[in-house]
Every structure is written in structure tokens, then in C-alpha cells.
């Protein structure tokens, strides 16, 4: 008897606890749902602002149709968003011409700042692959308050450029003017360095990477045709379409600033017993990985000897500044070495300062 009483008591208590839990859960869900609704409207407004900002820079006129395309909604919904924004004095309208107000432009720059900071963060402090930086940042850029954005900037050491080479707008809303020109407009034979790669559309961004065009790559245009251009790279010559070339920004450099094109091979091509001199670490190697390699003493001029290969085929152990260090094949392929151990000329420190 006594026994049963206990059982009922426990079942009752269990029931009460469960009821409280369910109630709490419901509240959380309700709260989330409300938050999500507010979030959607924030995202639409911020994405529209970015669109307006790009239009302004490219001297195009934003239309409800183009906004609908960006937001992936109907024109009617897009018009609603525009009205809402006008009410908040983010944009203004004169007849059929919509344009950013000053506060709208400030807001747009803040969103771009958040986006580029996130990209920097993803590149430097996480292990996400390059292809995901842009899409992830597109979501993350809407999630931070102003204070949180500044905390992020602080944590990243107030970076100046995003990993694609775009300048990050400053906290007070200045966007340092880039002195870039498009590769499509670069005079033939003029040597230049890649300072920016447009990350949209993604397909072209990826193709450029496959062609060996990265930030910091030195190149020159050899020939200009109707359907595209022929470009010289240290690794060879490539054909680029006009669309591809338009997505590359370059900065002209003096002839003397080109590091002589040395025939290089990736470190991974060395066989055990062979030696190479580091010419550079590929720009594709970024963030923590790049810093670690430099910490280990892999800088231009370092002599590296391949010592032995793991019996399972990978990694390979290299003798680097007296230490035996194993690198995986993907890592070693990012280090370009020359088989010629003494540099032909006294190596001048390679520079790419932004001349004021």
C-alpha cells in the first residue's frame, strides 16, 4: 500500500515537472519565432541597402525590380520594403529615382564592414574552406549589434582588408578609396599585381583560382583580343574571358618591383634527398596555416631538403632549418621552391606597399 502511494506521488511530481518544461519550451519557441520575423525584415532592409550602395558606386539606378531580384521576392514585396525604408529615412525618392540618404549610406557601410570583418574572421580564425566565406558572411553580417561588430574588429586586430583584398570600411564609416584598375583595362605589357578578386559570382571566382590568379599574383597582359585577353603569370600563360578579367583588380607596379620569374616547383615535387630554396608561400595559404609555416622557418630563402616519405605515402618529412618536420602533400604543394639553391641576383625584399 505504502509502496503504491510513493509511486503515485512520484508520477504526480513527474507530471508537474513535465508541464512546467513544456510551458517553458513553448515560450522559447514563441520568442524565437518573433525574433525570426524581425530578423527577416532586418535582412531585407540591409541587403537592399547594400544593393543601393553598389548601384551608387557603379552609377546605376536601383529599381524595385532589381531589389526584388536581390531579395528573391515579388516586385510588390520589394516595393513594400522600399516604402518601409523610406519611412525610416534610409532612402529617398525623387520621381522614379530612388537613392540613399546620408544615414542610409552610413548604415550600408556598416553592413559591408560587418560582412568583410566576418570574412576576415572566417579566413583567419576558423577552418572553413574558402568557398564558404562569402555565403556564411552573408548570413552573419545581419546578426551583430554595433558594439558586437566593434568587439569583432577588436578581436581580429582591426584588419584593413578582407581576405579578397577589399578594404574594410572604418568604424566611422569611411571607405578608403582603392587605387585599383580592372585587369580588363590594364595596358598591354604593363606589369601589375593582383590586389582584389571579386567574390561574386562564385563560379568566376573559382575559375580564377584554378588559373592560378590569387591576391598578390604578379602578371602582365600579353595580348588583347575581342573575346578575351592573354595573360602572363609566373607559372605560365593563361587565357581569360572578358568577364573573368573584369572581376580582377590590379595595381600597376614598376618593372623593378617584379621578382624575377624564377622557375619554381611545389615543395611536394621534391623527392627524398633533393633540396629546394623557398621562393614564396602561395597566397592561397592563409590564416593560421600560413603563420604556422612561417613560425617553422619557411620564409623566402630557406633551404629545404626532403628527407623521407611516410610508408603510407603521405606526409613527407623535410629538413627545415635543422629541424625535421613532416608536412602533408596539400601543405607542401603551397610552398614554391626553386631547385637553384643560390638566388641568381641578390634578392631584393619583395614589396607591395600601397604608395600614398
Amino acid at each position: 500500500m505504502d509502496n503504491q502511494l510513493w509511486l503515485y506521488l512520484i508520477i504526480f511530481l513527474g507530471g508537474v515537472v513535465l508541464a512546467v518544461l513544456v510551458l517553458q519550451l513553448w515560450r522559447v519557441i514563441e520568442h524565437r519565432w518573433k525574433e525570426k520575423k524581425e530578423m527577416t525584415s532586418r535582412i531585407s532592409i540591409e541587403d537592399t541597402l547594400k544593393h543601393f550602395y553598389h548601384c551608387e558606386r557603379n552609377q546605376e539606378t536601383p529599381l524595385p525590380e532589381s531589389v526584388a531580384g536581390i531579395l528573391r521576392t515579388s516586385v510588390a514585396d520589394a516595393t513594400d520594403v522600399l516604402t518601409e525604408m523610406e519611412r525610416h529615412q534610409l532612402i529617398s525618392r525623387a520621381g522614379n529615382r530612388w537613392q540613399l540618404t546620408d544615414s542610409g549610406r552610413d548604415y550600408a557601410l556598416q553592413v559591408i564592414r560587418a560582412h568583410r570583418l566576418w570574412e576576415r574572421y572566417l579566413a583567419d580564425q576558423t577552418g572553413f574552406p574558402e568557398s564558404e566565406w562569402h555565403t556564411q558572411s552573408d548570413k552573419l553580417e545581419h546578426k551583430l549589434s554595433h558594439e558586437e561588430t566593434e568587439a569583432l574588429a577588436n578581436r581580429l586586430g582591426h584588419p584593413r582588408f578582407d581576405p579578397h583584398g577589399d578594404p574594410i570600411p572604418t568604424a566611422d564609416g569611411r571607405l578608403p578609396e582603392a587605387k585599383h584598375i580592372s585587369l580588363a583595362a590594364l595596358p598591354v605589357e604593363q606589369p601589375a599585381e593582383v590586389v582584389h578578386l571579386e567574390d561574386e559570382p562564385e563560379a568566376i571566382y573559382r575559375q580564377l583560382g584554378e588559373h592560378g590568379i590569387h591576391l598578390g599574383t604578379v602578371l602582365r597582359v600579353l595580348r588583347r583580343g575581342d573575346d578575351g585577353i592573354e595573360v602572363w603569370l609566373p607559372s605560365g600563360t593563361v587565357q581569360l574571358t572578358t568577364a573573368q578579367a573584369a572581376n580582377v583588380s590590379v595595381e600597376p607596379i614598376a618593372e623593378s618591383e617584379i621578382v624575377l620569374p624564377e622557375p619554381t616547383v611545389p615543395l611536394s615535387a621534391l623527392k627524398p634527398g633533393e633540396q629546394g630554396r623557398v621562393v614564396n608561400i602561395s597566397p592561397a595559404c592563409k590564416g593560421a596555416e600560413r603563420r604556422r609555416m612561417m613560425d617553422l622557418g619557411i620564409v623566402p630563402g630557406t633551404i629545404i631538403k626532403a628527407e623521407m616519405v611516410s610508408p603510407s605515402g603521405d606526409p613527407t618529412a623535410y629538413l627545415i632549418r635543422g629541424a625535421l618536420i613532416a608536412l602533408r602533400r596539400e601543405q607542401a604543394s603551397l610552398i614554391n621552391v626553386s631547385r637553384n639553391l643560390t638566388p641568381a641576383t641578390e634578392q631584393t625584399p619583395s614589396q607591395n606597399e600601397v604608395t600614398a
Binding site: 580564425q125 578581436r155 586586430g157 582591426h158 593560421a288 603563420r291 613560425d295 627545415i320 629541424a323 625584399p349
Partner: protein, 279 residues
Amino acid sequence: MSKNGSTTKTSAPCETCPAHNVGNLKKLGINMDDWDYVVALAGNPNTGKSTIFNALTGLHQHTGNWPGKTVTRAEGGFEYGGSRYKIVDLPGTYSLLSTSLDEEVARDFILFGQPDVTVIVTDATRLERNLNLVLQVLEITNRAVVALNLIDEARRHNLTVDERRLARDLGVPVVPTAARSHEGIPELLQAIHEVATGKVVGKPHRIQNEPPALKKAIQQLVAEIEQAFPGLPNARWVALRLLDGDRRIIEAVKRGELGDLSIGSTERVNSIDMPLEVA
């Protein structure tokens, strides 16, 4: 507190080794309540930092032939030449410029903890790579001693290291040691003592090969920093960090902590907040 009572705890297997009868080393284990000088132990991973730490304090930090065994900060003490020393074993790092937590811990302690002496333990058989860290530490402090450890390994490989030449080039005392056999420990203690008491003042090497554009920027910034914080021993290094956007240093400049660094005192070591466990 009594200075004699505290030696009893450690019963090192090596107390009878000749090295310890030399000089007047008294290993204090972890029983440190007050001290006259603070010594920081920095170095690349797997250079025998912990072995040196053990040799000095009589403690038994685990050592192993792997980089990165010491993850927690270890502290100990010893008494030498009538002064009491607190010694802090920092996590082994390749550099102080990157952003890993270990490096921040080591860097913060050397900069803000202001140890009276920083001993940089190097592997004599891989000197070139180890100098990377040495040069970075020497940018921060001039109160440093370089322990040229694993000198027995170097001998085994027929390498000779001219430590006097190295000392002249680096501008700080260099002591060859083989901590595993206690070789060179007395000389290391002597060097630590001399730097701590100010008998030897280092004139450390500063990095020279920056590209010209960088050099110009550094000069401009250094001039301004020196004007604001006269007597700062490492204005150049602070400038480098500001140019790299180092948040910890920017905050330090903002809060005026930098000004304190020019005074120099050992008490501040206690107030530095260091995570004991580094994830």
C-alpha cells in the same frame, strides 16, 4: 617565513649530483611565498625548457621528447647567492607574433609581468630556428639570458657553437647547457643572478632587415611613442604591434598601462591574470 624550512619537500633523485653542490643553490620546489626576483623561462617547444626548470627547482614537471608537453604554467623557486628567485615556466612557443593562446600567455607575461630576467632556452642543434623566438623576446626586453641547451646533442653531431660570438651578436649573456646532465647549470645561475642584480646589462640585438617602407612607418611611430612614454624600453616593439593591430597592446596604450612599464617593479607579476589551464 623561514628560509630553511622550505627545502625539505623535494627529494630529488639528483640531489647528490655534483652540479648541485656547486654554488649555493637551494631548490625551493613550489614553496615560494616571497621572492626577490622573478625569472621567466621561455623557449621553443621541445628544447628542454622543463628539464631546466626541474634542474633549478627540484620539481618534477613531466618532460618528454615531444613538442608541447608543458601546457599548464608551472611555477617554482630557488635560492641563489642570498636572493630568492621565483621561476615561471611559460608554454613553449615558436613565436610571439601569432595569435594562439599559448603565445599570448607567454608574450603577456614577458611584457606585462616584467620578469627581472627572461631565460630563453634554445636548442643548440637547431639554433637558426630558435633564434626567431630569441630575437622576438629581445625586442621586448633587454634583461634576458640565452641558455644554449642540448649542447651535448650538438657535440654528438659534431656541431660547435661559438657562444661568445653569439653573445656578442645578440647582446645578452649566452650559457651553453645540457640540462639533462646538469652541465652548465651553475653558469646559468650565475648569469641569471648577474642580470637580475643589474651587474650585467644587456644591449640586445634589434631586428634590422625590415623593408624600407616598414622601417619608415616604424620610425615615425616610435618617435611619437617615445615622446608620450619617455623611458619605455621597447618602444620599437610596441610600434610593431600597433602596426599589426594587436588588440592587447592597443588596450594597454589606451589604459596607460604602457606608462607603468617604464618604471619597472616585480610586484606587478602577481596582478597579471594568466589562465592556469590552457585549452
